[in-house]
Structure formats: C-alpha cells, structure tokens
C-alpha cells in the first residue's frame, strides 16, 4: 500500500509537469492552429540554458535566463515561421515544426555531447518521507510550483483579456479580428506562455531522480504529447487531466516493473503512448476535445 501511495505521489508530480508541457501544446494549437512538435527541443533548450547559466550567475538568475531564452526561442519560431505560413494546411505546419525541432535538437546534442550537465537545485537531491511514503524533494517542489502555475494559467485563461481574446480567436478567428482582436499578438503570446511552461517543466524534469541534463530529457518532453492528445487537443482542462493520467500510469508501470517483467524492461517509457492509443480507440477526439475540429 505504501509503495502504491509513493508511486501515486510521484506519478502526480510527473503528471503535473507533463500537464505544464501539454497546456502549452494546447494553447499553441488553439491560438495558431498548429500542432507544434517543437516542445521536446524547447524543453531541452530550457534545461540546457539553466544548467549552463547557473555555473556563472547562480541558480535563480539562471532560471530566469532559462525561461527567457526558451520563451524567446518559441516566439521566434512563431514570428519567423508559423506566422508567415498562416493559412497553410495544418499537416504542413506540423511537419515544419518537426523540422524546427530537429534543428534545435541537433544543436543541443552537439553542445551537450556525452556530458551530464548538473542543475544545482537549492532544494538538493534528498527525498522527503512521510511515514513510508517517499518522494524526492525536487518532485515535491515541482508539485507545488506546477499547482501554482496551473492555477494562475486557468485564472488568466478564464478572466484576463488575454484569455478571452484567446478563446474568442480560437472559436472564430475572423469574427475576433472584426472585434479588433489581433490574432498575431494572441498567437505570439501563446508561444511565449508555452515556452515558459516548458522551461519550468524542464527545470524539474532534469532534477532528482533524473541524473541531470542529457539529450534524454528530449524524450521526456515527447511523452507530454500523449497527455495533450488524450485530453483532447483543444481542451486546457483535458491537458491537465491527460497529464496527470499519463504521469500516474507511467510512475505505476515503472514502480511495478518487476511484476510487469513479462512486458520487458523499460516498459514504463511507452506507457504514455499505450494509454493514449487506448483512450483514442474509445474517444477519438480525446476525453474533453471538441468533436469537430475542422473549421469551415
């Protein structure tokens, strides 16, 4: 039982981080009508920047620099490429983002090489125990920070002018334009927010129990895609639920891998995708997605 609770807690933490990434994925889809595959490499860029910068300027300033660099990279992708291709088919845009992703990823791999960069988290690599239920301190802080950010995000999405402009523009872009809502601005801001959320997730994903920044962090970013898709590509609530679901499923599969040995080692890494496929078989538009996504 305690093992189960530990795994559940770790799963929630991982899931909260997936949810951060998936939220960015969803708002980019809503605002720019792009399925963006740049998230894995943006995540790596964020982690790399934080790790490198913290050597010279200390941890907290480095985090700020990392968030800024990732947000800047995201908004550059939007301004220089996506915005200029507005009106292109969704599938072409998705493939363009895969191209961008490969370019950033390749550069990251070249820079990191076979090193393992360390991010000196001030909360250290220790773990927190409550009775027999344990979680790394890093993942515990992650839950708190993610909860605050997700709360802020949903509040902004519901109440702020940006949120209303975003939702109006996602529902009917031309009419939103007739109201004086600038789609370009809404879209650029969505990429900035997505970049920041991805960098925050990166900050925790490269801490304990993960060894540090390696190109493997890219694969972690990829596992957030199923979270967004099974929640319903255009649903922010779905991204949250999907993230948690996938985080918990992955943590449970990793924790019980001795019992699941007949499926082979490292099975937990593919669990997010299996969960996604299982959900999509019964609900093709995801748990909370709009049934018809094609615009007329």
């Amino acid at each position: 039982m305690t093992q189960f609770l530990s795994l559940l807690l770790n799963g929630v933490s991982l899931g909260a981080l997936y949810a951060l990434i998936a939220l960015g994925f969803v708002i980019i889809f809503k605002a720019s009508e792009v399925v963006s595959f740049t998230h894995g490499s943006l995540l790596l860029l964020g982690a790399y920047t934080i790790a490198r910068a913290s050597d010279s300027i200390g941890f907290f300033p480095a985090v700020l620099v990392g968030l800024a660099v990732t947000a800047l990279a995201a908004v550059l992708v939007e301004r220089l490429i996506i915005n200029r291709l507005r009106g292109a088919a969704v599938i072409s845009l998705a493939i363009v983002t895969i191209g961008v992703d490969i370019i950033i990823l390749t550069e990251m791999i070249r820079r990191i090489g076979s090193d393992i960069l360390n991010v000196p988290h001030p909360w250290g690599g220790g773990s927190f125990r409550l009775g027999d239920v344990g979680i790394s301190q890093n993942r515990l802080v992650a839950i708190a920070v993610a909860a605050v950010l997700i709360g802020l995000f949903f509040a902004a999405f519901k109440y702020s002018n940006w949120g209303i402009a975003m939702r109006a523009s996602a529902e009917d872009g031309e009419t939103a334009a007739l109201m004086g809502i600038k789609q370009g601005q809404v879209s650029a801001l969505a990429w900035v927010v997505a970049g920041i959320l991805a960098a925050v997730a990166a900050l925790f994903l490269v801490g304990s129990p993960t060894p540090g920044v390696t190109p493997a962090a890219y694969a972690v970013g990829l596992r957030a895609f199923p979270a967004a898709i099974l929640g319903g590509l255009d649903s922010t609530g779905g991204a949250l639920v999907g993230g948690l679901l996938i985080g918990i499923a992955e943590a449970l599969a990793a924790g019980y891998q001795d019992q699941l040995l007949f499926l082979g080692r490292g099975f937990s890494a593919v669990v997010p995708f299996i969960v996604m496929i299982a959900v999509l078989m019964f609900r093709p538009s995801g748990l909370f997605g709009t049934k018809e996504l094609t615009r007329v």
């Binding site: 002018n161 209303i164 402009a165 939702r167 109006a168 529902e171 009917d172 872009g173 031309e174 009419t175 939103a176 334009a177 007739l178 109201m179 004086g180 809502i181 600038k182």
Partner: protein, 262 residues
C-alpha cells in the same frame, strides 16, 4: 463619413465580386444596401472592415475612405479603432463564451476604459435580456437574442459607423421588426449605419438612403422612400408584382442548380 469610390474587388485573382461601386454613407444617416446572393454585399463589408485578405480577396482599384483616412490595406484592428465596427452575417457570436465575455471581446479594440463602461451601460439599457443572461453561454441564447448580442458586442467598441450584414437572416418577422427599431435607436444615439439586407421591407423602412447592388455593380440608388416606390424595387425586392412570380421561381431554381454543381 464613409465614401467608397469606384471600388473593384477580386477573389483569387479571377472572380470579380465588386465592379466599380461608388457609395456614400453621410454622417448620422442609415444607408441600406440591397441585393440578392452574390451581388457583392458581403464583399463590400469585408473590404471596409479589412478582412478581405482572410478570403483571398484583393482591392484592384478604387478607394474606401473614412473622412480623410484611407481604409484600404489597413488591418481589421486599426479599422475598429478608427470607429468602424461590423456585425457579421449569421451573427457569429462566440457560442462557448458567456454573454459577458462576448461583450468583453467586443470591447477589445476599445482602449478607453471609461468609454467601454459607458458602452456596456448603453448595451444593457438597449438589451436588458443580455444583462439577465450575462453569465450564460452565448450558444444557449435564441436566434433573436444572439442577434442582439452580436449588435451589443459591436457597440462595445463605441463605433462611429456600424456595419450590419443581414441582421434579419433566419429570424421571425416579429424579431425582424425589433431589429429595425434597434437600428433606428442606435442611429438616433448618433451612430451612422450601413445596413446590408435581403429583407428590403425592413431595410427601406429604417434607411435614409439606399443602394441596390446587382452582380457587383450599383444598379439603383437614392432616397430610401423614393426607391421603395420604384417599379424595379417593388418587383424584385418587395414582391408586390404578381406577374413576375413565375419568372422569379424559374430564376431561383436555376440558381439552385448552379449551386449544386459549384
């Protein structure tokens, strides 16, 4: 206030939707534009509002001016801030947003907070039902209420010139009458109106001046009341001439065929 001079618009570089249209909307007046499907009415409004590009349309020649300001080539946001706001055809309210959020979206182009508060007060005064339902999703309103919301949303930007694209479309006759009264009231409060309609009875009842568009060209224009008396308008738009009925039916069925193939 708004003057359009020999405007030519094409879609995709080939289809001429508007050919040499000239039109004036004088300050403080209601101007109606009548015409059947495909006459170029919506193209005209898209040109004024700057959304032509979203439909791959292009102004080939001519000008659209608001006072001294040339509107051609400006983006929709700039045109809203200049005081020209459109109520699009088919209402196009944001169905997943609440009534209040729809109104807030309408005020996005309006940076002046005091003006926005005043506009909201005016909207609730004119359409009390919107206040009652302010926390409901727009999609749950009836057709007439949605049209009220669409008009109220546009008024949130405090327009000097309001463009209405077929506000009577799909509404019951009684509601159409109310829409007519609302337009007259908005105009009394100092907003000029350009009203595009297929419902000529309502449009000519509320308008000061009227233009008839036919396949992209102005075929008739003048004082709305005088125009309502002319034979062409009586026959084509008010349906007062019984003799023309068979001819109209065949014209309609011909159109239907071409639409199926299109």
């Amino acid at each position: 206030m708004l003057s359009i001079d020999s405007l030519h618009v094409t879609y995709g570089g080939a289809v001429q939707a508007v050919r040499g249209v000239s039109m004036e909307v004088p300050d403080g007046k209601v101007v109606a534009v009548l015409g059947s499907n495909g006459a170029g009415k919506s193209t005209l409004l898209r040109t004024i509002s700057g959304t032509l590009r979203l439909h791959r349309g292009k102004v080939d020649a001519g000008s659209v001016r608001l006072g001294d300001l040339d509107l051609v080539g400006r983006d929709p946001g700039q045109i809203v801030r200049a005081g020209v706001v459109q109520v699009p055809e088919g209402r196009r309210i944001f169905g997943r947003l609440t009534v209040e959020e729809n109104l807030r979206a309408g005020g996005m182009g309006n940076k002046d907070k005091a003006a926005k508060a005043k506009a909201q007060e005016r909207v609730f005064e004119m359409f009390p039902v919107l206040k009652e339902r302010s926390s409901q999703r727009g999609g749950l309103l009836s057709g007439g209420e949605q049209q009220m919301l669409a008009i109220g949303r546009a008024l949130m930007a405090s327009p000097k010139l309001l463009l209405l694209d077929e506000p009577s479309l799909g509404l019951a006759p009684r509601i159409i009458g109310q829409i007519g009264e609302v337009i007259a009231e908005i105009n009394r409060q100092g907003t000029s109106v350009l009203l595009v309609e297929q419902n000529a009875t309502m449009a000519l009842g509320v308008a000061d001046l009227a233009y008839v568009l036919d396949v992209g060209e102005v075929s008739l224009s003048g004082d709305a009341r005088e125009l309502a008396q002319t034979d062409e308008v009586q026959r084509l738009y008010l349906g007062h001439d019984g003799e023309q009925a068979p001819l109209r039916t065949s014209a309609v069925s011909g159109k239907k065929l071409s639409r199926w193939t299109a």
